[in-house]
């Protein structure tokens, strides 16, 4: 049965579909540049004067990516890049719209759209570098412990006295001259690589030993080491950096990858117990966690400082089904409407329709990542793709769920939409990695000839 299946899989050849990618990319550019034009029309009544320069720059970036993919990853998934381009373009337009509102209120206000475009450019450059330099994702397996160490360093960096700064109560930023950077965003990618490499090596021990209890295979005590360490690190992030969102993200990521690597639901049970107890301890121990939960449960209680989330909800309700239209709402009433709460801004001006469209785009990114994991032929690639897909899904869930009051609000960025250089760059790298893995996975198997047939032929290592 499984032999037949693998035969069938082997017989199926993926098409490159680069033409489809180009077509979708043009549609994405229409979305991004169209939104930018709509902002100008909505706020100032005219199409912005710099639409050609802006649109041109966006088009050059996107089409550049396409050309690079065509050259170095011809079998890569054709849907990912257009989705990302659409999201990034929409995010830029919304940030620009909020800039205009801020400028109208205060001519000296700080603007964000230009910075975001520069960060996007940087993200695209890194995207190209990753695709060009890493020709096979399995090369990365060699850097398992390097990645792990790098992740740890990145996580600790904001705590260092000179480098780290506390912004809005969370110590998750480092400041280098004029630039501030959230190393946690990059650490996320490094952690995925580290977990994948580590689990590929150790998954047998983690998977096979253990005893059965209440119908669930529970792991051995000594194998609990890594998960406990990860749990402590997550708690450390919560305690020292006061960053609820990242803490949840890292732990959830590790748990899922452990489960996928070992195929044992027992890990999910152990992990969930740890998560619940950790969350409860955090709730008991930290005032900022308690206040987050309180504002979530009772946002209209005047004792809770829930202004931001309440304004976000009001904005989304005001948007209704089809939204006020770009430039017609009041998103500046929401603090951080250009970053953490950009979904509320989109909900207000583009309505439930816009929110659903964005959520479906995110869902498609996750779907493409998981699909890549399914068809990928090696364990490391599978784990990296699953990890990236799940971390993306969790992040969207935590931040959008927080903004829409589904779960308590935690500070995370909305991928590709919110203002924030580190997040944008890290997410472009994630997409590059996914494209690289999918290119590898979808590429037809090389024709293998038996060495016996020709003595002169040698088996070479494809790596």
């Amino acid at each position: 049965m499984s032999a037949m299946q693998s035969l069938r899989e082997a017989a199926f050849t993926h098409r490159r579909r680069r033409g489809a990618e180009l077509f979708l990319l043009v549609v994405s550019l229409v979305v991004g540049i169209g939104a930018y034009a709509a902002v100008g029309l909505g706020v100032e009544g005219t199409v912005p004067a710099d639409i050609v320069g802006y649109g041109g720059w966006l088009a050059v970036l996107c089409l550049g990516c396409h050309v690079v993919v065509r050259l170095v990853a011809p079998y890569a998934d054709p849907v990912l890049l257009p989705i990302v381009a659409a999201l990034n373009g929409l995010g830029l337009a919304v940030i620009h719209r909020i800039d205009l509102a801020d400028l109208a209120a205060n001519p000296d206000a700080k603007t964000f759209a230009r910075g975001q475009l520069i960060w996007m450019t940087l993200g695209v450059l890194l995207f190209v570098v990753v695709l060009v330099v890493i020709r096979d994702h399995r090369q990365l397996q060699a850097f398992t412990y390097t990645s792990g160490f790098a992740a740890l360093v990145l996580l600790v960096m904001p705590l260092l006295p000179v480098l780290g700064t506390t912004i809005n109560g969370s110590r998750i930023w480092i400041r280098l001259g004029p630039f501030s950077f959230q190393p946690g965003e990059v650490a996320k990618v490094m952690l995925v690589l580290f977990f994948a490499g580590y689990l590929v090596l150790h998954r047998d021990a983690l998977a096979l030993a253990g005893r059965r209890f209440a119908g669930i295979d529970l792991p051995r005590g000594r194998d609990l080491g890594p998960i406990l360490v990860m749990w402590l690190i997550s708690l450390g992030v919560l305690v020292f950096q006061r960053d609820l969102g990242s803490s949840l993200l890292f732990f959830g990521l590790f748990l899922v990858m452990l489960y996928v690597a070992t195929e044992r639901p027992g890990w999910l049970v152990v992990g969930s117990v740890l998560f619940v107890s950790g969350a409860y301890l955090g709730y008991l121990a930290f005032g900022h966690v308690q206040s987050r939960v309180d504002t979530w449960l009772h946002p209209f209680d005047p004792h809770n400082n829930a202004y931001q989330i309440v304004q976000g909800m009001y904005g989304m309700a005001w948007g209704g089904l089809v939204g006020r239209g770009l430039g017609q709402g009041d998103p500046t009433l929401i603090p951080f409407s250009y970053s953490d709460f950009i979904m509320a801004s989109i909900g207000e001006e583009l309505g439930l329709t816009g929110v659903m469209a964005v959520l479906l785009l995110y869902g498609l990114i996750v779907e493409r990542a998981l699909r890549t994991a399914l068809v990928c032929r090696d364990a490391f690639g599978k784990l990296v793709a699953v990890g990236l897909g799940v971390v993306f899904a969790l992040q969207v869930f935590v931040v959008v769920g927080g903004v829409t009051k589904l779960i308590p609000l935690t500070g995370l960025t909305t991928p590709f939409l919110s203002y924030g250089g580190s997040s944008l760059v890290a997410n472009w790298v994630i997409v590059a990695l996914l494209l690289r893995i999918s290119d590898q996975a979808r590429r037809p198997l090389p024709e293998l000839t038996s060495p016996e047939e020709d003595d002169a032929t040698q088996v070479v290592n494809l790596r």
Partner: protein
């Protein structure tokens, strides 16, 4: 590893499904309740710069929006603000809205579903949506009579008047004093609004309070109507039944006696039930209360609306109260409207109106019609019975006759209207020794074909303690209100 990957796919799908459902809830199902929250600045800004509909009483507007040259384009203006403030309420940028401005906000602001077609037309025509108008049941003459009556007692008089049409439940007048000027709160000069607000809230006699519905007071002897209704309904009493009279009633389980106002002897012992009501005999009704028991009294009170909420057109109606488990002396005191019995003036007007309307209590309402911006009729309130047979029609007849006696020969002579039969009942209620008693009068007229039922409460008129009485302070106001309605 593909099995767990598929499991994770389902997990991720569930996450996204949760997000999609939740945002649908937020932006579609919950949107209208979020939009109607008073601190919602978006909605407030949008509404504030819209032509808000008028509030109309007796064909002329008492609140309307007029064009003004500032960022909000329209200014809410209240005509005769002091007289109508408890009804219109205020429409303030900072402090939200109250009374009809609040309860009818959807119509007035134009966001009501019934105005959907108008909104679409406005949107296509690229013009600002306009609000519809609200017509009140108020009779301006009665309102004026009630307001002038309370006002005449002095600037610091605390009191309320509520007049009802007994056959429909229409609120014909509702005045609360002291009152306030909603124009000060509707102003666009926000610092002055804040000053006015602070002033209104720090004033000891609470001008923002609508005493007609938002505060309960011991109803005193006016509650004897409820006790008499319970007695007649029990079948053990007729208006001619002899009941205990005399100067004092021994309260069981205590060493104290229940005595009459001013040491009266009620004209004998025993006396008829009619006579007991006529002279407002505490001893008689205390004794009747003891014989009927607290449950019978409470049942009768609740038939008139005690312990219930019934007014939807203005928010904040407080439930009138009959105590849950009074012991025997407390029951006797409750029967004469003391102890823990407490009622709003609206509630006492409903008692009178129920008796006037053959025993059927109509649900009181204030909003008569709502109209679209083009003045076409959107909705007209249909009168509905709040409680049919609160008393039987024969009991209602008997009570009416007894109340006529009160006005003709008893404590309520100051409410007499020449040529018209008036039925009424006075009340003077003690709350605590250190504050003046409450003066009450409830009545309806004409007794044979009732057009209006009134309750007047004077809480504090700043007069000498011995000058306070239902017949002296409250009845003349009731008379003027009844005259205003009848002499149309």
């Amino acid at each position: 590893m593909n099995k767990p990957i598929r499991t994770m796919s389902i997990f991720c799908m569930l996450l996204f499904a949760a997000l999609l459902l939740n945002s649908t809830y937020l932006q579609y199902f919950d949107a209208s309740s979020l939009n109607s929250r008073p601190d919602n600045k978006r909605v407030r800004d949008a509404e504030f710069s819209r032509k808000r509909g008028a509030i109309v009483a007796g064909g002329s507007s008492i609140a309307e929006s007029t064009k003004i040259d500032d960022q909000y384009k329209y200014q809410r203006v209240y005509k005769q603000p002091l007289k109508y403030a408890p009804l219109t309420g205020y429409y303030s940028y900072i402090y939200g809205r109250s009374a009809v401005e609040s309860s009818q906000n959807d119509i007035l602001s134009g966001s009501d579903p019934r105005l959907f077609v108008n909104r679409v037309v406005d949107m296509i025509g690229n013009s600002q949506p306009k609000g519809g108008s609200v017509s009140l049941t108020i009779d301006p003459k009665a309102q004026t009579a009630a307001y002038d009556g309370l006002r005449a007692l002095g600037k610091n008089t605390e009191g309320a008047v509520v007049a009802l049409d007994p056959t429909t439940g229409k609120i014909l007048a509702m005045v609360s004093h002291p009152t306030y000027d909603p124009n000060r709160l509707a102003s666009h000069k926000f610092s002055e609004v804040q000053k006015a607000w602070a002033e209104l809230n720090s004033t000891k006699n609470r001008p923002l309070l609508n005493r007609g519905i938002q505060e309960i007071y011991p109803p005193g002897s006016t509650f004897k109507l409820v006790t008499a209704a319970a007695a007649l309904s029990s079948g053990q009493y007729t208006p001619d039944t002899k009941v205990k009279g005399g100067p004092r009633l021994d309260l069981p389980q205590t060493s104290t006696d229940l005595v009459n106002e001013n040491g009266s002897t009620c004209g004998g012992d025993p006396i008829t039930l009619t006579q007991a009501l006529e002279v407002s005999c505490n001893v008689s009704f205390g004794d009747i209360g003891l014989r009927l028991g607290a449950d019978a009294l409470r049942t009768q009170a609740e038939k008139f609306g005690f312990n219930q909420t019934y007014l939807n057109d203005i928010g904040g109606q407080v439930q009138s109260r009959f105590p849950a488990n009074p012991d025997q002396p407390q029951t006797a005191l409750s029967a004469i409207g003391q102890f823990d019995v407490a009622a709003t003036p609206l509630q006492m007007a409903m008692v009178a109106a129920g008796i006037a309307n053959n025993g059927t209590v109509m649900r009181p309402y204030l909003v008569d019609e709502v109209q679209a911006p083009d003045l076409s009729l959107l909705d007209k309130t249909r009168p509905e019975a709040f409680r049919s047979n609160a008393v039987s029609s024969s009991v209602a007849r008997d009570l009416t006759q007894m109340m006529i006696e009160v006005v003709d020969n008893g404590t309520g002579t100051t409410a007499q209207i020449p040529g018209i039969k008036v039925a009424g009942k006075t009340g003077t209620a003690q709350s605590s020794p250190d504050r003046p008693p409450y003066a009450w009068f409830v009545s309806f007229a004409p007794a044979d074909n009732p057009k209006v039922a009134v309750a007047v409460l004077v809480e504090d008129a700043g007069v000498e303690r011995n000058a306070i009485s239902g017949s002296g302070l409250a009845a003349p106001i009731a008379k003027r209100v009844m005259e205003a309605v009848i002499n149309k």
